[in-house]
Symmetry: C2
Subunit: 153 residues, 2 copies
Amino acid sequence: MARVYKTAGRQRLLDFLESSPDRQFTVEELCAEMDRQDGETSRKSTVYRHLSKLCDEGLARKYRSDTQSAYVYQYVGLGDCCHHFHLKCVTCGQLVHLECAVSEELLSHIADHHGFEVDSGRSILYGLCEACASLEKKQTPTHPRGCTCGHHH
Amino acid sequence: MARVYKTAGRQRLLDFLESSPDRQFTVEELCAEMDRQDGETSRKSTVYRHLSKLCDEGLARKYRSDTQSAYVYQYVGLGDCCHHFHLKCVTCGQLVHLECAVSEELLSHIADHHGFEVDSGRSILYGLCEACASLEKKQTPTHPRGCTCGHHH
DNA sequence: TTGCGTGCAAAGGTTTTGCATGGCA
DNA sequence: TGCCATGCAAAACCTTTGCACGCAA
């Protein structure tokens, strides 16, 4: 891997990502934030290049969003985000780290009985957080959001 | 929903998707397949429009791929793909429907203890199928593929 | 006859890349 | 001094949309 210089732009980006480790950001959002912090803007291409490096270094991760058309990036630091699921609310965007023994059980079960090694850090479980779920229920009591299966349940 | 006409193009696409219910295809791949089947090509914009309708009708689903930059589409027919996880091998692309009591348990647990309603049909678990996992192990015995967490395990 | 299907081209949005210049080590 | 970082513009890529015409019902 090429050497990484410690420039102001990189540091500001890293600091910001680090300050919100449980959120995911688009490049658009990150540029806006950089602009907001100080007149010192960072151009998109530069931010893309920073993020690409940060992912290579293992400090950030790049994900596809279910709802947004752009990539989203999240700080993972040197902590271990590779070995637990993430829950992402499709309505408000909140991201939860699910460090939970029951999901470990599922992983073992899948490995043993279905012959599949799930990379939990790469897998995001989409759904509704408590707050958004209760809002949904008030608005559409008959059928859960986003379900197109035609079945009644 | 608008009425749907039964045209040759739509039927060919639907037949093909239906013949591989456990695979996901990009629009690129579907166009190539349509071209291959007979001189009758289908243009991308048309395929996009078909797929959009099929998703509305509940016959297909549109997903974001973790690895590919484009959307992928999968036939789900009238079966119920909304209520189980899918396992996707990041190497060979195979997609497995995980109808499994243990994952139901995890869903209940997450709902009860983490206050989160996971939409399992919308969530894909990425990892390695048995065949690809054993290949991986031969090639890189020290560190699992794609894990950038820096931890040893 | 009505309105959806289809192809083409253009537009829109996101990400990558080439090049020249500036800055870190 | 040697790379890497940065900004700008252009290219590349994927998806959607407008329009005109064809075809199903």
